[in-house]
Symmetry: C2
């Protein structure tokens, strides 16, 4: 299994490293999305694109848009079982179960934000910039930078190059189920818990992924994210004319990647919310414990 | 409006020109798709990818798969009106109307084939190669190369760089309606008939595009195309290891472009079938006059 080309956080240097940190601080999340790591390979793109987006993502308006996407990403709980009994049977401590749920909470907090970010970038590179009204004072109110204290660190994504045969099989299963090109950050973090990941894929994900209901949900999330982007008063990304370090085929490639990751991130938003839902039910999944509006 | 980076047919030389001609001859169609023109910018990709696909697309099996996709791409005729009265009022001759319908027929013949081709390439670059059974002798029967004699030439796609302000407005409208990155070959051919194109967009396309029903149709076509690809006995595209002239970010870009164009071509398949349907009804739209099985 070949690893999809990308620049990992620990490999980033200089302006790129600063942009990775800025993305985490601004979105208040503990990881840089797969999409961003891949697009970091294109000269100048990530710093310019995030420079255009930053101001729009520091507001209560963005936080509320993410809250709405999160609520709307929930599929019916039909068929889900609480994984706790199985985990306890396998000898998991209550502390380890809580740690896992913290990981799910962290991704559920950030995934809808990345869906908004990539949607804005995708619209911009296709030349569609929003022309919405200025935000109200309340919507424009800035949020503190940096992740809320309760959000756990997500320090170890399992690398394909260092993964066990068991984890590689799970990555292949994730790809094949979704018709995806590689495992998301979320699944690379869950690969630290391979027994749980195997259970989650078979019980919660495989029965729904790529069904008409799931694809309809993905489609609706993208439509909602686009609606939010076009409600903004100005550009949230860069158009090709600003990407003067990129060759024509880089512009084409970025356009395709943004289109793909917009859909990829919508899928992952649905998935990880569903994993939380299996543990704690609809209401707990639909409302992030880290969203300011819920505290 | 900036033109999306691509290599036009008349700009292709050497191995690329030969591949463009091979694609047209093998698929029996009179144009090289937008997707192929864009991916021609990536070193070595198009000749290698078509080399892997060629044999699968020379068969009755492929022609039948395209026939099925075409039938299934039809949306309900609800709301459609025959454009002939409007065209006649604008002074169109019967000959010009027949010429336009010939253009629609040519695209309707080829669009489902390109959906199959791009789907196979997309699966291959993501490392999913089919493991189906060998074809039956009947399915494997070769089709003659070259487009059937009745298929018209599609000689003049209007270039963004040479388009009138009216055509540029129509291209913008096409992009904005679909949330696309540029006009397809189909729309660039229809731009030779701007009065018709304006009517078609407002009457036939705008009311349906990106509705839940349209997006569901797109999703079902992609699922069907994938099913066909995975019924084949062997690879229909190249995986990244074979793309040794490509940089890692080229591999990433191609993966994104294939994902995007798979969906783009499904949209255009739906659209152009609908334009034919407005002229000649459901049955005539669903069965190409050029498909061998219909003659």
């Amino acid at each position: 299994m070949s690893k999809f080309p990308q620049i990992e956080h620990h490999e980033a240097a200089g302006e790129l490293k600063a942009t990775f940190e800025d993305i985490e601080e601004t979105l208040r999340v503990p990881w840089v999305a797969f999409a961003c790591r891949v697009m970091s390979m294109f000269p100048g793109f990530l710093p310019k694109a995030f420079g255009a987006a930053r101001a729009h993502f520091s507001t209560r308006h963005a936080e509320r848009a993410a809250d709405s996407l999160r609520r709307n990403a929930l599929l019916p709980a039909r068929g889900l079982r609480d994984p706790r009994p199985a985990l306890r049977k396998w000898g998991w401590s209550e502390g380890k179960i809580a740690e896992l749920i913290g990981v799910l909470d962290a991704f559920n907090y950030g995934n809808p934000k990345y869906l908004l970010l990539i949607t804005g970038w995708s619209e911009a590179i296709q030349g569609r910039h929003p022309h919405g009204k200025p935000l109200s004072a309340e919507d424009a109110a800035p949020l503190p930078r940096g992740r809320p204290g309760q959000v756990p660190s997500l320090h170890h994504m399992v690398d394909e190059h260092a993964a066990s045969p068991e984890v590689l099989r799970l990555y292949q299963r994730v790809k094949d189920l979704h018709f995806h090109h590689g495992p998301s950050s979320d699944y690379r973090l869950l690969a630290n818990y391979p027994d749980y990941l195997a259970l989650a894929l078979e019980e919660a994900i495989a029965p729904v992924v790529r069904t008409p209901e799931y694809d309809r949900k993905q489609r609706d999330l993208i439509a909602e994210a686009r609606g939010w982007v076009h409600s903004l008063p100005g550009p949230v990304g860069v158009d090709p004319r600003a990407l003067d370090e990129c060759a024509p085929r880089d512009i084409a490639g970025l356009t395709g990647l943004l289109f793909m990751y917009q859909r990829f991130i919508a899928d992952i938003t649905i998935d990880i919310l569903r994993l939380k839902q299996a543990f704690d039910g609809d209401a707990a999944a639909a409302a992030s414990p880290f969203a300011p509006s819920c505290r």
